[in-house]
Amino acid sequence: MTTDHELFRRFENGSPDAFQALVRSWAPRLDALAWRFLGDVEEARDVRQTALLRLWTAPRAATGRRTTWLHRVVVNLCRDRLRSRRLRGRSDGGDVRIASADPAAADAAARDEVARRVAEAVASLPEAERDVVVLKQYADLSFARVAEILDIPATTAKSRMWRALAKLRVELKECAP
């Protein structure tokens, strides 16, 4: 099986096939990551497309470690969109009601009250803590990678995670087993 590293190497050498393979491999991951931030499938796909387009157009040497770079692009794009929502006054639901921003997602979430409350609680975290939670808990990356993506020390990523979990514990008190 071709690894991401190998695909990125071939992509850097100008292989269009490698880029297609990267898109196939990475699109679902990027969709999932963006969806956790935005709660909207179509918006998540837009973010993914933009990120992959940037990968295609970015100067090869400028991206550093590709996987980190891709994650970082998605996180930044999602932050921008969430900020835009707030500025447009969509915060009456917007990023706080992360899982209900999309009707289908709302239906799915409604089937599980706990899931809905978890989504809301994560979305209500301060940006810095929310980013760590999404990357660690839902993108399943190591703290070292999370720190690299967010350009912070690993110890900071861990302390943010700890604070976030403490807040979530309070927010989700009624859902606790």
């Binding site: 706990v114 978890v118 861990k158």
Partner: protein
Amino acid sequence: MTIDPRAPISCEDARALSVDLLYGELDRAEQPRLERHLESCAECRDQQAGHQDVRKLLDRWRPDPRIDEVSRNSRRTWWRVASVAAALFVGACLLGTRVSWQDGSVTFSFAATAAVEEQTDLAASFHRLIEAAHRESNDRLRSLHEQILIELEQSERENDAAGAALVRALERRLVRERREIGAMIGRLARAAMDESALTRNAFHRMGAPIAREARGDKR
């Protein structure tokens, strides 16, 4: 650098280690230090327990069905591969056994069955015995495999050290299972031998190597 397990740590350090523990990243060498701190600090102990519950709650937020969350699936892939590999290890020990992996389940089929199908009626009884062995071993291995997957999921052990220990335990269990299946085939083979002299001949020609290989005999 050597870590002194008796050296006390601050609550701040304990929190960082607790987060590592929650997400399976705790260095084994650090574990005694964290344990000692948690034994003596009720506040950190309470927070650790609470955070553990929160972490489980966070898993309840499942992705939209239209989102193919490969990232989470991939987390389990390693475990699945490990367990399937271990199952294949058993399957490969059963001479003539085909093993396939499809839609999250393992299927074992005796290649020997097809070969036997073309034999005479006298061999048909042996064929039936092999089929019975097939069904039983298939059921047992599938059941074992499902049990392993459930345990792996429940354990949520994601770090390599814990994973390696789990796989070793898994391999030991599968070796035991392999011996039991070998013994089962041996018993079936003996039953076949009792059935008739001709069946016995058929068994010696085709079945004995299967039982011998399944038992792990070298010769």
